[in-house]
Assembly symmetry: C2
Homo-oligomer: 403 residues x 2
DNA sequence: CCAAGTTACTTCGCGCCTAAAAATAAGCCT
DNA sequence: AGGCTTATTTTTAGGCGCGAAGTAACTTGG
């Protein structure tokens, strides 16, 4: 971490951020509790919360009676201070959701989309954003930001650029395009696996863990690695390409062209392909989701073998992550991950134990994901919230959108 | 990152740290340059450096003539402010080195050790520390800290505990033992691969990279992952067990008991074992180092095949790291890594390219390590230095040892 | 040799900041 | 009602970085 110089203003900003984050994550708290949990003096906690109340970021939320003293007044983040929007760009459609600052869902729009073309996607996003706003009567000016979860990797620079081989996107300047389609609030474009990981960390099975690995098994596989509470991004925001790590050197050819990638063994697509091969059939399923369900519940020896092998590969893949990252928690999510995990979690855990080193394995807890089907959108919506919390909502820093 | 409350004192501490770090890493600088490079105002840079000069942390280092103005006075970290000691606990012996604060080596002691037994190791370390001090006449009180690089993983708690399956250490409270053997300065126990990675980052091929992966190939293989300039440790400091990630599912049995670990293919021991098997010989080499040299320079088809295969496995293993961490730089080190890399770096790079995703691969530069055989000791010695720099050498914080 | 010019560094006053102490608010209990 | 307890606000004190205004230490050009 390259630390940099700080001024007295940064102090205030940081302490605002600390208080705001504590209130956001741990619900209503009194100034007293805030002082205790953050380490700030009661005086400072009081001054700063007073400021935040004046600015409309906080509101009072009742009081707790005491046993013989002045009752403590509870404070919480003002849900009406602003709104955030989360967008899930999937391979079959686009979901746009509007939340208030307490992350209560106010409106949802689903738009199916056959062919994923950047211009069409941008326009659908802009339309969806307009729709959720008019449906709820929320003013565009109250939107703190729009988070967008996309497939593929996102390169962050002055403006986010998306690379997604599977849908044929090569260096698509999506942020610029969405802006040009008419979306005004600040944009936060991020890989969908990472936004889903974020959702799992804040609201799901990752809560409370500082070091966690969120494994997402869908058609393919992905991972979000959280270190010290922060999603790991690497030098150019491309980190976390777990699906294309080699796990069977010289093995099956993956759609990325390389042999032996984990994704050639452990995603829903790979499982179904291996099943087809075992049965010498050659007709790809129309609906992966129900095909996987059928495979998982089949009692045929072939199906059972395919599933058991998949569990082995997945366990080895998870063990690699455990060895490399030494997390306290592994969360297994994604639609296929949840379907497989619902039936085979113990076997997956056992396979992980077989392949991981004893010591890091001993530190980890492996759980199923607990976020719903809109986890990508929820996670995307948390991005502007995180930005607000991290900045301490500093009223002195220039804000692009007028809120 | 869990940010925490800050006081006005933390400000000064942080700015001291920033200045001190800039001076340590980028050699002598004038107050003027410091002000420009850190962003601190000239006034503050001057005040703080004045303080640091008074405390003896900095010294003047000549001046640069100007073209028509007051010449700038150069400042640098005072090499004589204190000393640091680095210890390398290897499988064949213990090396203790003394450095001044400019990391100039003042004295070295090598002590061979056959059987690596914790008590004996602790006593040898204490003896070595005493020896380098008396040899140079440096007072124990001027030693800022002793860094110790050990095989295996180090669990940091109130006192460091070492787990090293390969040498039969299971939860050895090494820090406590070294202390009891009579070493007084603050101790910093860390995994040897990580200390070597640290050395490579500060003084070797990793310089300037914020995100890097230091790959160490010796008898086995290890890695140090650097994220944002900081060595990644995970929840319990066990992160980075690359050697025991599965790369050939169901493959060769590794000494850890699992099948298909990278270490069963890519370290010197594995290469020699595979060569022996190919030749149907059964006599382990007495000296791995010269045996590997012989293997690498052999022109026999069998030797060439073993080496080429190893290059492939190693490349795939590196590609996994590139995909997962998206580093800007990969440094290949370790005695076997350097030996192999000296002859086959291009092939290793090509094998990495074959297995990595195009995009993250496009961001990375793969280089040979540039630190010498005492990299582990040098890296260990940097640990107390890093602690000093990070703390801003705050004279107000209580110090255990009297310096 | 001296004055003017130039650049590096210091000093001082201001506006902020947090902490500690003191004061005040708002309940409970008898 | 009065004492007691606890929460919050106000006051005061000690720090900090910055900008402006000096001051120091040279070079240059006559």
């Amino acid at each position: 971490m390259v630390r940099t110089r700080a001024t007295v203003r940064d102090l205030r900003k940081q302490n605002r951020s600390v208080l705001l984050t504590a209130l956001f994550l741990d619900g209503p708290l009194s100034r007293q509790q805030l002082s205790a949990s953050t380490g700030l003096s009661a005086a400072t906690a009081s001054t700063i919360t007073g400021e935040l109340l004046d600015e409309g970021l906080l509101v009072e939320a009742g009081s707790v009676e005491s046993d013989g003293g002045r009752p403590r007044v509870l404070l919480r983040v003002n849900p009406a201070f602003g709104h955030v929007i989360g967008v899930d760009v999937g391979e079959t459609g686009i979901k746009v959701e509007l939340f208030d600052l307490a992350m209560t869902r106010l409106s949802t729009v689903d738009q199916p989309l056959g062919f994923v073309e950047p211009v069409a996607v941008s326009e659908l996003i802009a339309a969806g954003v307009g729709e959720v706003l008019t449906a709820t009567g929320v003013a565009a000016s109250s939107v703190l930001g729009v988070g967008v979860g996309v497939p593929g990797t996102v390169e962050r620079g002055t403006s986010a650029v998306v690379h997604a081989q599977t849908i044929g996107w090569d260096a698509v300047p999506l942020e610029k395009m969405i802006r040009e389609a008419g979306v005004e609030p600040p944009l936060f474009v991020e890989n969908g696996a990472k936004t889903q990981g974020q959702a799992e960390m804040w609201f799901g099975a990752g809560r409370g863990a500082g070091h966690a690995v969120i494994v997402l098994v869908g058609s393919g596989v992905g991972v979000a690695v959280v270190t010290d509470g922060v999603v790991h991004r690497g030098a150019t925001s491309n980190a976390g390409e777990w699906g294309h790590t080699t796990i069977v050197y010289g093995g099956r050819r993956c759609r990325c062209g390389v042999r032996g990638c984990l994704e050639a063994y452990a995603g829903a697509e790979a499982m179904l392909a291996r099943y087809r091969e075992a049965l010498r059939r050659n007709d790809p399923e129309a609906d992966q989701q129900s095909a996987l369900e059928a495979l998982l519940s089949s009692r045929s020896a072939v199906a059972r073998r395919v599933v058991d092998e998949s569990v082995g590969y997945l366990g080895a893949g998870i063990a690699n992550l455990v060895n490399l990252f030494n997390p306290e928690r592994v969360v297994l999510g994604g639609w296929a991950g949840l379907a497989l995990g619902a039936r085979k979690l113990d076997e997956i855990v056992a396979a992980t134990a077989d392949h991981a080193l004893r010591h890091p394995y001993g530190q980890v807890r492996i759980e199923l994901g607990r976020t719903g089907p809109d986890a990508v959108a929820v996670g995307a919506a948390t991005l502007p919230v995180a930005a607000l919390l991290d900045s301490g909502a500093d009223p002195r820093s220039a804000r692009v959108s007028g809120f």
